[in-house]
Symmetry: C2
Subunit: 353 residues, 2 copies
Amino acid sequence: MNYDPLPEFRRCPATGRWVIFAPERARRPITLAHTEPHHRDRVNPGTVCPFCEGNEKLAADEVYSVRPDGSAKDSPGWELRVVPNKFPALRSNMASTLPALDPFFEIRPGIGNHEVVIPCRHHEPNPAKLTLDQYAALLVAYRERMLALASGRLWKYAQVFQNVGAEAGASLAHLHAQIIALPMVPDAIQSEMAFAEHVHDQRGNCVYCEMVAKELAGGSRIVRETERFVAFCPFAPRFSYEFWVMPKSHSAHYEFTGAAALRELAGLFLELLPALDAVLAEPAYNIFLHTSPLTPLGQKPAPMPHYHWHWELIPRTARAAGFEWGSGCFLNAVPPEKAAYELRQQLPALHGQ
Amino acid sequence: MNYDPLPEFRRCPATGRWVIFAPERARRPITLAHTEPHHRDRVNPGTVCPFCEGNEKLAADEVYSVRPDGSAKDSPGWELRVVPNKFPALRSNMASTLPALDPFFEIRPGIGNHEVVIPCRHHEPNPAKLTLDQYAALLVAYRERMLALASGRLWKYAQVFQNVGAEAGASLAHLHAQIIALPMVPDAIQSEMAFAEHVHDQRGNCVYCEMVAKELAGGSRIVRETERFVAFCPFAPRFSYEFWVMPKSHSAHYEFTGAAALRELAGLFLELLPALDAVLAEPAYNIFLHTSPLTPLGQKPAPMPHYHWHWELIPRTARAAGFEWGSGCFLNAVPPEKAAYELRQQLPALHGQ
């Protein structure tokens, strides 16, 4: 049988969920040893890392880099590189020609843009081991790529995420993040924005601003606070030791955050991640950004008084099973107050406390 | 620090999601070796199976059983047993006394009923190895327990599910299913029913009846059809080789299905599961039931012209990662037409074809 190898979006007629069919993903190399899911740096023997300095030719040509030494594109000497994913979930250059279909089965061309952000030239699998300069450059790279992706006007949303460890879905050990730009705002963001807008209509407030105020007032779920940011275990997390990081003042668009704030945020992550590694013995985890849809080039950002960008980090220590997938309701064995307490114990002491 | 060990429901103020805090789950025994996630029958050494015949005293007292030999309760001789989960996600006998809290952080007592259904007395980890009598008794046990749970009027929904393999969240190898009765209809069911009701308002049809008709007419995603049921890979599945099984005629309440139909359904599963084992080399998977809320004893079942019970089976061959958890949009490398074709190839030939 012959199946179209082009990626596509499909919408489930019974649930309304969008799914991406990405046949090329099945061909990507898996060098992380999946039989040892909790080992983040165990790699299958005989594989070469395409993200290490000196192996630039194994990856696609860079679209962004940090090269303080002025070295040439796609050569050694970089501090951070962004390259197109060689096994992309979606394609950016696909003609929109699809056969007419039964409208019951909604289908759209699988266009999108899938990039990999490599924040260190050495074979480091652990984000907690980045330097402050490296982590700050990573957070800036997300911003720069979101602004660049918005300029094409094709993309409505950029999903930034990082998979750490095979159990969290990473296929290569060398630390990397990914950005998938989409022609539509994905379901989870639409539903989160709709819920927040509903709250705003009812109470006139951003629910995330309310949450920051209440968490800071209560304190039991706070992990760490800096001048501009706060990290806390949310009141009803789906996963044990899950935490969120967000600006304390209202801010809807991550990509308009300034360099000083991003450096402060990088420093916060570099306190949080070693604490998480200490509490859970270097767990696998996912980090992802929730932010407003992209702003087309030349337009002013939408005001978005109801939405508030934030990072979510979910450790993958327990597996969602039949109950969770069936009911959508998550079972969590660790109260966030306990998780926050344990994480706080692993943080370096603050000056003056 | 002292944390309340009682289970509770909490609602996320930012997303509206309900989560269950189940501290007792952290104490349940894990005998399946999680370092070998794809081996369904590899157990940690030195453990005794509480579900094997002769070990009845290691599990809680049975609330339902099939004992053709008339043997005594909680003794050997059974064909199927249902016992309360010794490490329940929720408690059925908890006083509803919670401190008054900020209404921003919604909290409810963690009441519910968590049972385990053991469909064979021998240490069999693979549902595909059940006999037709055993599988039919399992499907009948779900029905009987749903009817019994409805009679207490406390429970609004019963989530039936089965985790096969450690990668799918199973902690004990001996084949077992679980039923969690809830005091509320869970988020995934509410949202599925709301979507189906919206379709019904617009087109006057049950969207599942429409889907059955269109899938049967098209044929490319059908895996197997029997007199009353059809199994197919849905148009937009989240997981590779995911399939759904549902009655061809409209039916909203699983627990009012007759014995002959359930026996036919059991026979269908016993064709599907070996085919899945053949295509994916005995994968880990979850099976769960989606059906209408429970009908209180003495009341007529709600008509529910828009909803339609069905089983979903999700193989756990790929892991949901940062993109999926962040965006809610799933990446799937295998088109359902290809999955259905491969599954069909592994089915026994039908008479007359």
